[in-house]
Symmetry: D3
Subunit: 225 residues, 6 copies
């Protein structure tokens, strides 16, 4: 009863590349504090920020069949997003599958489950965000849905959406919202640059953000010497 | 109803600097195995040991107002200790606030909640111990108490106490106990140096610590060939 | 009522050395997907793969007496496996004990509890897999069983079994199964080498593993343009 | 920036009432093993099965503003579904709000967060499924979205969908799928009734479900006396 | 190095009895949303609300020595509060100790660890709040501090403070704050009684609490038909 | 590669029945504080104590094939013990399988995974201890080992061992140790009966267990008025 849909329309590559210039924290703010996956997703190795178009798949517990199907559908620039139909720590993805994904142009993997071969993944510099690390392998018996809308680590993801990941976590931008989000991110970064300079020069955030009177009005009692 | 108290007396800086010479494990032993925060607090990056005087604040879930107030109260040598009034993984603290704290002389942050911009914090070498990493930001609506006694990760902390943190965790020394703890730490380190040499030379811990007969007396049955 | 058994027969060292050539993931597959400890066991530092013969001990909560007894029994090539009789995060093992274990030829520690002095352990390059890091020390009051069959992180371990650990986790091979497992690992590695080359050249896993028709037969619906 | 949408079309009441006749387990099977919320959602008291149309809302951590807005939108037969924008155990919902919801005809509450006044809720027989129980109250500062599509405990829920809950958990049926699911549930129940009688009479499941040969073919080795 | 202090001054019994008339949720609100223990503390059986004066003790992991010392210090009306020095699920307290505590007039137990004999405790109607249930017993080797200030489940508790517990959790009122808290609780209950009647009569909370305009001002967009 | 072994020798039924007279806590003490499963195993309903001979099986994640095989092997008096090869919360066991097990004389189920139909199981009074409740069903694709030695919730269990479960948890007694354990349990119960009477009469545990001087010797400082 599983489905693989090969007709997915990907987000505009220029949107993807532009979003990769902003941190996940900034994009999440620009989205009105939405779209962020649960913090249990952590990078296998640190120091990478990457963006891609969501290649979605659902896997049965202990069974990575859908990842193999996803590999068959993958296009360069895709970022594989994997969610188990019930919670599972097993190692669904390792070095061999990463080799395959690299050959197909997949830029990274986000999985709300376990991965393995993390030494190899690190040496290959293939970026993976996962909720567990486990050598326990999986079987290939039950195909699941590929390229259908899914929920991964608390966020709804549609095929072709834009996924951005860095050391702080993983955020999802709907394909149709990309331009608005980019504009909002630019505004925020510009503002932050001004703030950063003032903070370095010694200015305080209470005054910079106009919080001093606001907090006193809210009942803050200030006990000085 | 929140309070910020600007009259806090800090611990003697020479005590702070001296305590930074001992590991958290040694200080915790010297305290009679007390004062250690729950192990869910982990450093954002490894390899640092630091000590400072506790600048305490309580934050509402998803609201970092008190951290801004704390920045206004901060003095060089302070170490910011943040506890949420209810458990929350959100990213209360990031690069902009770290820039502010550095400008004010704050030496590190200990927070029983989430932080973000961890790549930047690492590049800045600003030490942070937290219970989570999350890009999810917070609002600035509800001021909480600053520089009042708090409970953070299971330990009672008073403003001006000494906080020491390293890769093993975070420990708190009451301002008035500092000298006694330093003396006890020195005794322990001297003893450990002797033990280390004997162990390297091949001596066993059963004999070194006088445990062999003690364990036999406690009923240990030794099955030899 | 505790026992220490000094009569343990160790696995053949050549089996140990050979098994260290395979990844934990491969060995776990070769064992028919058994023998893997729970993924809560993580290395204190990454990048090491090691194998040794199991030197088993049970510790009471907050009491590391048995580890001292184990040190007295240790032989070069042993790998210390520690399980608490009830779950405990305390730091049972640190730099002093590591110094002792190195002097006795113990190659690594696997412990379903906490360790401390992780900076030192890392600098010493002494490999440790643990379920927690905590500066909280332990007492030396109650001896537990040493070199008896135990259950550690969900796996039954007998003294003298072979334990292999890497960045993916920890796996146990019964002494008498070592040869069979080695043969099976070699077969798997040979097969994987062939697969890797084909995947690099662009072949897909659906065809390589004969999954395409199998999944269609299982009801997969393929929606093409 | 929050939205409350009063134009939601509810599912057909006859569909809701019919689905309440089937267990959550049966409906989940009929949905092809989808639509089930994470098992962390547990009933405040046991023994109830109920169905209603989803009245969705998002709450900020420690802030139940949206529940008050939802009460304003509620229609008889609605079932309130609440998801926090970041994980929070606080007691968002208690006896006073339950009294309000009863007055508005809301049949139950499903919330991936904490509730309080559980003694009162039990005495009122107002059914609640929650992920925590906590006396810690919330503030009413920040309105969130009401009657928009949300993700609750891992499942996407649209306003007007049908939610069914019992002692086993909570499942969601899309408004447009209701009839198909009802038909499938009836088929399953009929089959189960036949199976139950045969099992009571002593028949085994290996033969009843045709598993004996299937498992032998899959490599099961049967060791008899 | 442990201490037992027999000089503790208990709170005024009339304050204790009066506070038992209010729910934990109400008291927690009256305290300005402070003083509530972590929600991991749950009642062994439901349906009881009780208050007593804190008889505090610290226990080593897997060792209930301090509880025996506390029994020696207990006075009628005391409520035993137990915190482990490191997290432990073991069953520190069971039917025999409950029999002893009843004989000494102790009214209940709050423990951030495990208990056992829960069938007996339920049949005896001896109220216990714990963070775990486990048959695993403890030893009696290491005395810990009794009747000293402790931190239990995130809250600082001093000997003689007032502890109130019900199905929603456990809250602590400092001895000197009791009268103020009682007054505030009475005000809150009176207000809630008025609200309850209006809610039953069909009034909404948006109007009752003056939230409608506040939320619109905060940016809520109301989409009507 | 799975095995089902029909040659298991069961424990002596008189041993099983006698052990059912003692609490899990008492048996666990009699075993020298061993043999107890992790406290995550909880009864679906309270108030039952039961004993049976272990009918062991391993299940793949999300697959209950082995339970069907176990039903085929079951003999009256067996107690089904199920462990997943990797952690899984799915509902492996429900009302239909319980009906089957009752028909075969199986007395209870212990499973380190999820179960469903808990309302029915309660109404049938069929006792189940599990680590989760979930409506999420499983498939019947991959047979696992039945009647082989397993590790369940941290304890090694061999087919034919005696399993005792009550509201405090689950304990395992090796077939060959049954008589010794029964004798030790009787001694303990006799001693406890004496203690209970003395405690009811007001005697303290410090004197009853000879702890007063022991604790003073261990350094307890007693501060009296």
């Amino acid at each position: 009863m599983a489905v693989v849909d090969r007709t997915t329309q990907r987000a505009d590559p220029s949107h993807v590349h532009t979003l990769a210039m902003f941190s996940v924290a900034t994009i999440h703010e620009a989205l009105g504090r939405t779209g962020l996956m649960e913090p249990r997703l952590r990078p296998v190795f640190r120091g990478v920020r990457i963006a891609g178009t969501a290649l979605t798949c659902e896997v049965a517990p202990g069974d990575n069949s859908s990842i193999h199907i996803a590999g068959d559908v993958a296009q360069p620039g895709d970022l594989l997003v994997v969610t188990p139909t019930s919670a599972c720590d097993d190692g669904y993805f390792g070095e061999l599958l990463a080799t395959h994904m690299v050959a197909r142009g997949v830029v990274a993997v986000v999985i709300d489950a376990g991965v393995r071969d993390v030494t190899d993944l690190t040496n290959m510099s293939f970026p993976v965000w996962s909720s567990a690390i486990s050598a326990r392998g999986t079987v290939k018996e039950t195909p699941g849905n590929v390229q259908v809308p899914i929920v991964c680590a608390g966020v709804a993801v549609s095929p072709g959406d834009i996924v951005i990941a860095d050391d702080d976590g993983v955020v999802v931008v709907a394909r149709e919202d990309a331009l608005d989000v980019i504009v909002e991110c630019r505004v925020r970064e510009a503002k932050e640059n001004v703030h950063r300079k003032l903070l370095v020069s010694g200015e305080g955030t209470l005054d910079l953000f106009g919080l001093r009177q606001k907090f006193l009005d809210a009942g803050l009692r200030d006990i000085a010497d």
